[in-house]
Every structure is written in structure tokens, then in C-alpha cells.
């Protein structure tokens, strides 16, 4: 997927001279074509996320469209105040593009796991928060939002779901709908793949959000009378839904303890009950209790 990001920004840079990349010493080789083509528009500035974000805000305030890119925990949690004050409070804007969200770097352990980024970014006034679930969503959302002057957060996922859904910023997708369903499942990002499979032949609705903020309140309101179950391998979506509608919202995702395991993304999802089997079990339990 990072390869796809490379193609997207190269394409944007060819038509928009205001596009500039600031890297935290990641994806440097991957973006070699970009730096060869536009040597004065890619800066591998250093492993200094506070400064990267402040610089991006300064650049954005002067009419450029910077993309700051590094690993999710370092470009959100470590430099949260820079995002809050320099990008958001100053209304300077800028684009943050992370990789390694949730457990995409499972093998690197808890220092590299990042499940708070979406919620942290969502809480900041004026921030746009997107968790694309496949290449089409990544490309469409970046192209539509990168130059609007707002602060925008994009997460590049390691894997992707295989559903071909219409993509429009701020619009949710109704993936499954049943007039009789007492339960609505909500999810975001590539884990849609597991969630969709877990919902097969069950009488449930399934809503998908690639945009966490602004949340599609219109689509959500149609399901406010049903029980809502958020299945998500991060914080952010559940909180967004709970604060948007007055409905019964339950959450199946991140527990209140550090994940001190390594392995693969699927290993961790299995551990947390976020594999197909674990998700289906949770849904069946909800349906049995309704």
C-alpha cells in the first residue's frame, strides 16, 4: 500500500507544484523516483516528529501542501501538541500520512503498535481523519482532501479489504442492510474484510466508515433504533459514533491493556478476537442477547 501512496503523491506532484514531502527517515528508498524527479520537494528531514509537524504547519501557512510521513505512533502520539496547536489551532493545515497503524507492525511490539491515533486526531477541532481500507479509498481520499487547507490525517494500511465500494469523503457505505435487522455493525479500515465475512448470512446491517471525521451522521441516524456494535482494531470510530447519535453503542476491539505480543497482524487480531471467528462469535452473542 505504501507503493500506492508513492504513485499517488508522484501523480499529484506532477500537476501541483505546491506538493512537498517531509519524511521522518521512512519510505526514503521507496520515494526515490519522487526525489529524483523533484529534488527540492522531498526532504528527509530527520527523526524529529515534533519539528516535522511544526515545519509542515509553517509550510502550509505559506501556501504549500506538505505531506508529513512516518510511522503512526511517532507522528501522532509523540507530537500531539504540534498537531493540535500548529496545524489545528493556528488553522495552518497540512497532511499527515502514517503507516504502521494499529498492529500493522505487530512484530515490533507495543512501542510500534498504534491504536489511539484515530481518536487522538478526531478530538482536535478542524481535523479531518481518514482510515482508508484499500488502494482506491487511499487514492480517492488523498486526492480530494490534500489541498483544502485543513489539517488531514490519512492512515496507510498494510493490508486491504476486497470490497469495491463507492468512495466519497465523509460518506459512509451501507455494505449490508436488512429492514428486520436488530443489530448494526459499524467498522472502519481494512478490517472490513474480516467483519464482512463474519456477517455472512446473519440478519445484521453493516456500515463502513473510511472517514472517521467528519462522521456520516445522516447514514448513522437511519440505524439509531437498532443496537450498534462497533468492531474496530483501534479507538476512534466507537467514540465518534457514541458522540454523534443517541443509541446503544457497544465496542469490540482494543482492551485496556498493552499487547505484549509480536508475530503478525493476523496473530494479534486473533488474540483480540478480531479475526473472522472472534468477530462472528461476538456478533452471535449480541444477537442472542437482543
Amino acid at each position: 500500500m505504501r507503493n500506492h501512496f508513492k504513485d499517488i503523491v508522484l501523480k499529484l506532484a506532477e500537476k501541483d507544484e505546491r506538493v512537498v514531502l517531509l519524511l521522518g527517515d521512512i519510505s526514503v528508498y521507496l520515494l526515490k523516483n519522487f526525489s529524483d524527479r523533484f529534488p527540492d520537494r522531498l526532504y528527509n528531514a530527520g527523526i524529529c516528529e515534533n519539528t516535522l509537524v511544526s515545519m509542515a504547519a509553517g509550510m502550509s501557512s505559506q501556501g504549500l501542501h506538505p505531506f508529513v510521513h512516518t510511522i503512526a505512533p511517532f507522528i501522532t502520539e509523540r507530537c500531539y501538541e504540534q498537531v493540535k496547536l500548529d496545524m489545528c489551532y493556528n488553522r495552518a493545515g497540512g497532511n499527515i500520512v502514517s503507516c504502521g497503524g494499529s498492529f500493522d507492525y505487530a512484530w515490533d511490539g507495543a512501542t510500534h503498535h498504534c491504536y489511539t491515533d484515530l481518536e487522538l486526531m478526531r478530538m482536535l477541532p478542524g481535523m479531518e481523519v481518514m482510515q482508508p481500507g484499500n488502494k482506491k479509498e487511499l487514492g480517492t481520499l488523498i486526492e480530494s482532501q490534500y489541498a483544502n487547507g485543513n489539517a488531514s490525517y490519512f492512515r496507510i494500511p498494510a493490508d486491504e479489504h476486497d470490497l469495491d465500494l463507492p468512495v466519497e469523503f465523509g460518506k459512509a457505505n451501507i455494505v449490508l442492510h436488512s429492514d428486520s435487522a436488530p443489530l448494526t455493525i459499524a467498522t472502519a479500515g481494512p478490517i472490513l474484510k474480516n467483519v464482512h465475512e463474519a456477517c455472512q448470512e446473519l440478519d445484521v446491517n453493516l456500515l463502513y466508515f473510511h472517514t472517521i471525521k467528519p462522521l456520516d451522521a445522516q447514514v448513522l441516524s437511519r440505524y439509531a433504533e437498532t443496537q450498534i456494535l462497533v468492531v474496530h482494531d483501534a479507538f476512534g470510530l466507537s467514540e465518534a459514533i457514541s458522540s454523534t447519535i443517541n443509541a446503544k453503542v457497544k465496542y469490540h476491539g482494543i482492551p485496556d491493556k498493552f499487547c505484549c505480543y509480536y508475530g503478525t497482524l493476523d496473530d494479534i487480531r486473533g488474540l483480540l478476537g478480531l479475526d473472522v471467528e472472534g468477530i462472528r462469535k461476538t456478533i452471535l452473542k449480541e444477537l442472542g442477547e437482543l
Binding site: A45, G46, Q82
Partner: protein
């Protein structure tokens, strides 16, 4: 004392007394630097957003009152407006909001942000091949924050010689984490470093007008908190965030040279 610098000190005392807000000693340590920046950089109070202007950021945001008064006395708005300092719905908060106050280029308050933002703006001007410059005023206490040093390393590595850092060496951290040997530290960070009397406008002007030569510039300005009023200098910690009473006003105004 420079006439304008004296006027700004009088403004600060009056507004602090009127509003009950203000960090007077820290404001008094930066006034000559503000005077010099607005005297030497390209700006136009009649057209504050003009494309050719240089950028100034007050990174030690708690000296906002001094900045407001200098902007007012430079023609950006009437000084009378600043008397709302710190009041509900006033444009003039105890830390400045660039989206409210004409001439303020960056909202600051939390320390350690301005130098990174300034580096980003300086890089933008390089990318655009623009002759515009960026000035950022940081405090010595602020320099306890690691982000300041991060941004200087990056700025030096990117050869941002259009970046001018004014370092207010007022020894505010003498009771905590002092920045000793400041000149050597900035030199070690590959910045072209000057040391000046921070209350001598001519010395600051000379450093600020040194032409670019491939490295960011740091002007270590040796200053005194409360400079201009003997009482403020001698009782600096008790006056850190205190406004004068009417009786104290007479005394402080009388102490200004």
C-alpha cells in the same frame, strides 16, 4: 533608552495595571529585539498580508503584551485596543492568536513550537526561491524544550540561512535548568552565532542585517528581565506575573530612564 522602547514599556505598565494581566519582566527583556525586528524586516502595516513581507514569530508567547504594544506603535492598530488585554472576547489574549490580531503571524503560548514553524516557513521561501526572511524570538527557558534543538539541527542541515533566531538570554532559568555557554551551544549546532547586548538596538540591528551565508543565524541577546525598572530587575521572581497597583505604577514609571 530608545524613545519608542520607552513608550512601549510605559504602554505595558499601563495596560498591565489596567487589565491585571501580563508578564512585565519578560516583556521588558524583549523590547529592544522587537524594536530591531520591526525596524529591519520587510513589513507593511497598511498591507499586513503583502506577499513580500518577512515573517516574525514570537515563540516565547508569554511576552505577547510587548508584541501587541510594538505592533500598535508600529501602526498595526491603535494602542487603545490593547487595553482589553486578557478580557473575555478581547482580541488581545495573554497569548496571541494569529487569527484574531493583525500582524501576529503565529499563535504561540506552549513553548518550543516557534522555531520549528519558522524553519518550515524558511524552507518554503527557499523552495519558492523567495528572498523573504523569517525571524523567531525564543526564550532561554523555552530552550529547555528539546524541540528547539531538533528544529535548529534540521534548519542547519537544510542550510536555512534565511532564518534568524533571536535568543532572549535573560537568565530566567537560573533557578531551574540554565542554558549555560549559549553561544558555544548554538555554534555546536552549526548556526552562525552572534552575541549582542540585547538592550542595544544598534547591536541587534547589525546582527539582523548580516547577509545570508549558508547557515541559520542565532543572535544571543544578553538581556535583563525587567530592564528599565530597577525594582523589576531586583525583584524579578516576585514580579514574574504580577500587575502593579496605582502606587507602584508611579514608582515604576518614574524609574524608566
Amino acid at each position: 533608552m530608545d524613545t519608542l522602547c520607552k513608550t512601549v514599556r510605559q504602554d505595558i505598565l499601563h495596560i498591565s495595571q489596567h487589565s491585571g494581566h501580563g508578564h512585565i519582566p519578560t516583556c521588558f527583556s524583549v523590547i529592544e529585539m522587537l524594536r530591531s525586528v520591526y525596524a529591519t524586516m520587510r513589513h507593511d502595516c497598511a498591507n499586513p498580508q503583502c506577499d513580500e513581507r518577512d515573517i516574525f514569530i514570537l515563540s516565547k508567547g508569554h511576552a505577547a503584551l510587548a508584541h501587541y504594544c510594538m505592533l500598535a506603535r508600529s501602526g498595526y492598530f491603535p494602542i487603545e485596543e490593547v487595553y482589553g488585554f486578557g478580557a473575555f472576547r478581547s482580541k488581545f489574549g495573554c497569548h496571541a492568536d494569529r487569527n484574531s490580531v493583525t500582524g501576529v503571524e503565529w499563535s504561540t503560548g506552549s513553548l518550543g513550537h516557534g522555531s520549528g514553524v519558522a524553519a518550515g516557513i524558511a524552507l518554503t521561501f527557499k523552495i519558492k526561491k523567495s528572498p523573504r526572511k523569517v525571524f523567531v524570538l525564543i526564550g532561554d527557558g523555552e530552550t529547555n524544550e528539546g524541540s528547539v534543538w531538533e528544529s535548529l539541527m534540521v534548519a542547519a542541515n537544510l542550510k536555512l540561512d534565511n532564518l534568524y533566531v533571536l535568543f532572549d538570554n535573560n537568565r530566567s532559568q537560573s533557578r531551574c535548568l540554565p542554558i549555560t555557554n549559549a553561544v558555544e551551544k548554538f555554534k555546536a549546532f552549526d548556526c552562525e552565532t552572534f552575541e549582542v547586548n540585547g538592550h542595544d538596538v544598534d547591536e541587534i540591528n547589525a546582527a539582523l542585517t548580516t547577509p545570508p551565508n549558508g547557515r541559520p543565524k542565532v543572535i544571543v541577546a544578553n538581556t535583563e528581565k525587567g530592564f528599565g525598572c530597577k525594582t523589576l530587575v531586583e525583584e524579578v521572581f516576585s514580579w514574574h506575573r504580577r500587575s502593579p497597583s496605582k502606587d507602584e505604577m508611579e514608582m515604576l514609571l518614574g524609574e524608566l530612564p
